[in-house]
Symmetry: C2
Subunit: 217 residues, 2 copies
């Protein structure tokens, strides 16, 4: 399997995998054992040919006329997504958004475990969020080293984000989930996934605006 | 200008517009009046030809050898993104994430004004978040009608989201910013922008996993 997993896969396909994973998880929970690409296509509103093409990136998973084994497919996609092993996270920025993420138990269920929370605000230090203590920024590097951290979540304002990202990279962090509204400048090999909420809202605003303009014509 | 604005534009281009808007806003704040596509390319780490192509979708904005007028371009993109007029929002779900969004003042600065917050939890009703009262779900339809709401933000668990989206659509809402981890089934013309946080985290996990596998080879 290893050689299949590291085949070059477009980010477009990667972006669709979590959605397949979600639907297969729901089917599994409902006790469905097999599903055809046609039925999956109908539920997911993606063409059956798209589904077959996507799964072919990982070696297929299906037998002609027989459908996909739901649990097998679910487990394989989990493995491809790196969900077969646990991840240790630090969260930097214990403001509203940081607290919301720290309180979201579903991440932990998927194996993403927040080990430490950091904030530069002295009044937040020492507080606990879902049993996790908020620590001083000074402790960041030693904490990362001592707790086998592989993912950092950045929920701080854009002004401090670039400098903190530099510290994370120097501490050996290879994956940053970035909510700060700035593009991070990281060396090759460091993975950054941006969640820019205001950009998402603007995209919605664009589509609404465009629809309204069309209606007026 | 109207006819230019409603030209068919791919969602890939639309996705890049908020980022252009952000960089142009920063340049404007720094007092930069003109910028060449080459300089913008260097700052934004996008090719100059990509920039020219993207801007051509909206009629160009530039003169050969003269560069772009930063403020003009900034204002035009704002208009295209629908930021020239105010939007009235309702937020449904006053949990951690809902509170984080309601507390985020930058949305309001961009013209996205949360008018009402709703939650089905009786203990939250009556509380205020940044001066906005949390209301009962029963009031949703009348509030939307009476307050000229055009965007709804869904920060509730997936179980209730589909039913609430139906209510929103029946109340005339045409744009839903959906944080619930479920695909909404809405009629054509209703715009949905999904923010599926766990899918974003899985994508990061995939890229980290893939990078680690490659290193091992």
């Amino acid at each position: 399997m290893e050689s299949k997993e590291i085949k070059e896969i477009s980010q477009a396909v990667v972006s669709r995998l979590p959605r397949y994973y979600r639907y297969l998880g729901e089917l599994k929970d409902e006790g469905v054992e097999r599903i055809s690409s046609q039925d999956l296509s109908r539920i997911m509103k993606v063409t059956a040919s798209q589904i077959r093409q996507d799964f072919n990136n990982f070696g297929g998973f299906g037998q002609q006329g027989y459908g996909y084994n739901v649990e097998l497919l679910y487990n394989e996609i989990a493995k491809i997504l790196g969900l077969h092993s646990k991840h240790h996270l630090v969260l930097i920025g214990a403001g509203n958004l940081g607290q919301a993420l720290a309180n979201y138990v579903n991440f932990e269920r998927r194996g993403f475990i927040i080990k430490g929370i950091f904030d530069q605000k002295e009044e937040l230090v020492g507080r606990e969020i879902r049993g996790i203590k908020v620590r001083r920024m000074e402790e960041l590097e030693s904490f990362i080293r001592e707790n086998d951290i592989d993912i950092a979540v950045l929920t701080i304002p854009k002004t401090g984000a670039v400098a903190v990202a530099d510290r994370l990279v120097r501490s050996g962090i290879n994956a940053i989930w970035n909510f700060a509204h700035v593009d991070l400048n990281v060396p090759e090999g460091v993975q950054v996934e941006n969640v820019h909420l205001s950009e998402s809202l603007m995209k919605l605003s664009y589509n609404l605006n465009r629809y309204n303009l069309e209606k007026e014509l």
